[in-house]
């Protein structure tokens, strides 16, 4: 086909700017990274080698080793855990009212700018 070169690159008009997520480690190291829409905060952390996210079960909400503490002002936007996730939080340590399992937080446009804190220890 002659018009093959006219095809827009994948970064064309259709895709929006990627939401940014800031991970703050327990020692206050800050990482701000881009996240893919529809992926999870856990996957974003692994892709960017964020310390403190283990994700032993690979995102099945079965291990509680991807715990994050959502920043207070972001928690109402992220929302509370599902009953299933709440059960799994029982296996985590130092659980706070704003704690979530990052594999259960889907990246949406509304989460652009999200701040989460990673714990010093994931139960292992």
């Amino acid at each position: 086909m002659s018009d093959v070169q006219d095809v827009s690159p994948s970064t064309g008009a259709k895709s929006q700017a990627m939401p940014k997520i800031t991970f703050i480690e327990h020692d206050d190291t800050v990482h701000t990274v881009e996240a893919e829409l529809g992926s999870t905060v856990m996957e974003t952390a692994l892709k960017n080698d964020i310390a403190g996210i283990v994700a032993e079960c690979g995102g099945a909400c079965s291990c509680a080793t991807c715990l994050v503490h959502v920043d207070e002002k972001w928690f109402p936007i992220v929302g509370p855990p599902s009953p299933e996730e709440e059960d799994m939080l029982d296996f985590a340590f130092e659980v706070k009212p704003t704690s979530r399992l990052s594999c259960q937080i889907k990246v949406t446009e509304a989460l652009n700018g999200l701040i989460v804190h990673t714990p010093s220890y994931q139960g292992r």
Partner: protein
């Protein structure tokens, strides 16, 4: 101590790949014993995602971890594998060319021509709470499992957790204990409703205590616990206790595999991709625990590895025989082994 169990092959790990190895070995008349630290077969499929869907098993568009385990158990039934559950292999020692002696933490001894390490991410072991200074108390007054209930008679016990393990041990140990306190981070329990009701009845009757909070620190000396501080919603409470039992589920740890003289790369066993043998002839590694160029940690890769491993193992188990490759579809002898001919 029991007599030595002699078998062709010992498979360490009864996850999907270890189970399928029984099938491939069985077609070649190789008998297997399987040892797993969990109290059930299925490995991660049983422990981490029994109800979660798996979409990438060839020919099966959708199956749960539990479903896959059940199907594999049905598939290997004709070969009558022997399972040793709730046991961890502690030592592996070379006694022949090839030939190996293995010991488990349950005191069993095995002798086998070959060993297949199908241990996935390692052994599932209890999670240790990150309470500062907990280590000196472990196995002295902090226990992650109950071996003998009698050891807790007349003691002040602290049980931590909200699942079935925590609740079951609460109900079992409450009659023996001097005083039992259950600590859980929220006033909801994911354990069986019947156990929750029984526990609440004991609390209502004043026969045990329930604290909603998290253990913040421990107090004691020489491995002997005296008290724990429980951080509740708006206070810190000190609870006197002689022993603490935390039940926070399981996590995968490599375990003793690293001590057996097998060459390791990080926490994985490098293998030859023609035979899936480690650096020790007769010791194979299949599934998530092995590594080679291009390795993918997929169940389907493990199945392939099991098939090739079995071909090589045959030469060790039957050194005098020639192996003729056959298909289950057309071979009467294979179909007889499967009980369908």
């Amino acid at each position: 101590m029991s007599d030595t169990i002699k078998t062709d092959i010992v498979i360490i790990g009864a996850g999907p790949v270890g189970l399928f190895a029984v099938f491939e070995l069985g077609l070649l008349d190789i008998k297997a014993h399987l040892i797993d630290i969990l109290d059930k077969v299925g490995g991660q499929c049983a422990e981490l995602y029994p109800e979660k869907p798996i979409y990438d098993i060839p020919g099966i568009p959708y199956i749960t971890g539990h479903g896959l385990t059940e199907a594999l158990m049905q598939q290997i039934k004709p070969f009558g594998p022997t399972f040793h559950l709730n046991e961890m292999v502690t030592t592996l020692e070379k006694i022949g060319e090839p030939g190996f002696r293995l010991k488990t933490d349950a005191g069993k001894t095995f002798e086998a021509k070959c060993v297949v390490v199908a241990a996935g991410g390692g052994s599932f072991q209890p999670k240790r709470p990150p309470i500062q200074g907990i280590e000196p108390y472990e196995e002295k007054s902090v226990f992650y499992a109950v071996r003998k209930m009698e050891n807790f008679r007349g003691k002040n016990l602290l049980i931590v957790g909200g699942g079935d393990s925590a609740l079951d041990w609460t109900l079992n140990l409450q009659p023996l204990a001097r005083r039992l306190t259950l600590v859980h981070r929220r006033d909801e329990f994911r354990g069986a409703p019947d156990s929750v009701n029984k526990m609440r009845a004991l609390v209502a009757a004043g026969q045990m205590d329930l604290k909603i909070g998290q253990v913040a620190s421990l107090e004691g000396g020489d491995g002997q616990l005296l008290a724990a501080s429980i951080k509740t919603k708006d206070a810190v409470e000190r609870v006197a206790c002689d022993a603490m039992l935390p039940f926070f589920g399981l996590t995968m740890k490599l375990g003793p595999v690293a001590d057996w003289g097998i060459k390791m790369d990080e926490e994985l066993i490098p293998v030859d991709t023609g035979t899936f043998e480690s650096n020790i002839p007769g010791v194979f590694a299949i599934g998530d625990i092995n590594t080679y160029p291009g390795k993918l940690k997929l169940i389907l890769s493990g199945f392939h590895e099991a098939a090739l491993m079995s071909q090589q193992a045959y030469h060790y188990v039957y050194p005098e025989k020639k192996l003729v490759f056959q298909y289950t579809t057309s071979s009467t002898s294979l179909q007889k082994k499967l009980g369908v001919a």
